[in-house]
């Protein structure tokens, strides 16, 4: 080693000239330490036009829907089998679509007239559903038409069930668009938003059909709690209904 050689500091000018490289190193360090913050975001921003389009999303959703349908069918079959073992009212066999040819949702009677009748196998007492859930029961039939008494009609009485609190009640039409749910006991613990379905123990209508949602609860009603139910099927707008055949 050459004696007398001294350690030389780099010239200040050279350091100043290298500052962009220093910044780059610092940025790389920051990316490394932050596990890619900024870098991956920039990548996402730049690559957005090449992301999987709506078609791929549809494929995923249709696959999910198929999976759900298969599962629903399987659960339905299980349910039928178990109900037959317990000798309870079935869900109803096939459904028959029928057009609404007359709608009287205001006035003294609340009823629909549908364009299917006795010739197609309809009988009084059959449950009628619409998109959204149960809307009523067939009250009378002619050879080609049937009149459906809606759940809102003052003469309508249907046993229902609030699944969250596991309580039975009687859904009674009062002539307005929202029927009244009369419970069998005081303080059943229901609250607005609870879903109402047909009673699993009902002998008049198929069980577990969606009826509506509780809108308000009157705990002071006598002899037991009452609730106002908003039907899930839009009675004013329904043009086609499904009749549940046995």
């Amino acid at each position: 080693m050459q004696a007398g050689r001294r350690l030389r500091l780099p010239a200040l000018g050279a350091v100043v000239q290298a500052w962009p490289w220093a910044l780059l190193v610092l940025a790389l360090l920051a990316v490394r330490l932050s596990k890619g913050v900024g870098f991956t975001d920039a990548y996402a921003l730049l690559s957005r036009p090449f992301w999987p389009g709506s078609a791929q999303g549809e494929w995923v959703r249709s696959g999910q829907a198929l999976n759900d349908q298969t599962r629903l069918r399987q659960l339905d079959a299980d349910n039928r089998r178990l109900r037959s073992l317990l000798q309870l009212q079935g869900q109803g066999g096939r459904e028959l679509a029928a057009a609404v040819i007359s709608r009287q949702t205001g006035g003294w009677w609340q009823q629909l007239v549908i364009g299917r009748g006795e010739l197609q196998g309809l009988r009084p007492g059959m449950a009628v559903t619409a998109p959204g859930g149960l809307i009523g029961r067939i009250a009378g039939v002619t050879p080609t038409t049937a009149s459906v008494t809606l759940l809102t009609d003052p003469g309508s009485r249907v046993g229902v069930w609030v699944g969250r609190v596991r309580r039975h009640g009687l859904l009674t039409g009062i002539g307005t668009s929202r029927p009244l749910l009369r419970f069998l006991e005081k303080d059943p613990g229901v609250r607005p938003g609870d879903v109402v379905v047909t009673s699993p123990a009902s002998t008049l209508v198929p069980p577990n059909l969606t009826v509506g949602v509780i809108q308000s609860v009157d705990d002071r009603a006598v002899p037991a709690t009452e609730a106002v139910v908003q039907l899930s099927a839009p009675l004013e707008a329904v043009d086609w209904v499904q009749v549940r055949l046995p």
Partner: protein, 167 residues
């Protein structure tokens, strides 16, 4: 015999009433409640054709309308009574043709019809009174509002038919 009933097409116009009940045209509703179409048809018929024809027409119309609705509630007695009453009014004194008179008679008729339905419902079971009163009020008002127009036209037509039959 009824002078109007000699013309078959005059009797056939009664079929319009159940068809209007079934069709329930949306623009002719007040707060979702249709008018009492039976009152609007029966009033001019009875005024023009007398009490017996009015009572029979009321009973016939009641039979038709009762067939459209489930349950034991009936409109026959009130419609027959209204037909008889309006027929008597048509035979006594000067002919009723003023709009106000027709509106008032229709208002009373619709009120009686609605009242009888409420009474029957209350007798048959616990029917909440508040929605029933809403229906009663809306139907009565709407029927009275439509009566001057619809009933005066029908009354004119029926009187022309009766006078034509005489000639």
């Amino acid at each position: 015999m009824s002078r109007l009933a000699r013309h078959g097409w005059c009797v056939a116009t009664a079929l319009v009433v159940p068809w209007l009940v079934l069709a329930a045209p949306g623009p002719l509703k007040l707060a979702g409640i249709p008018p009492a179409w039976s009152v609007l048809w029966l009033l001019p018929w009875a005024l023009a054709d007398g009490p017996l024809s009015g009572a029979l027409a009321g009973a016939g119309l009641g039979l038709l309308l009762d067939a459209l609705h489930p349950g034991p509630i009936t409109q026959i007695p009130v419609l027959a009574l209204l037909g008889w009453w309006w027929g008597r009014l048509g035979r006594q004194g000067p002919p009723i043709e003023r709009s106000f008179s027709l509106g008032l008679l229709a208002l009373l008729g619709a009120a009686l019809l609605g009242g009888s339905l409420i009474l029957q419902s209350r007798l048959l079971g616990p029917w909440p009174l508040e929605p029933a009163l809403h229906t009663w009020l809306a139907q009565t008002l709407l029927t009275a509002l439509l009566a001057p127009l619809l009933c005066s036209l029908q009354l004119l037509l029926w009187r022309q038919q009766i006078q034509g039959g005489r000639g």
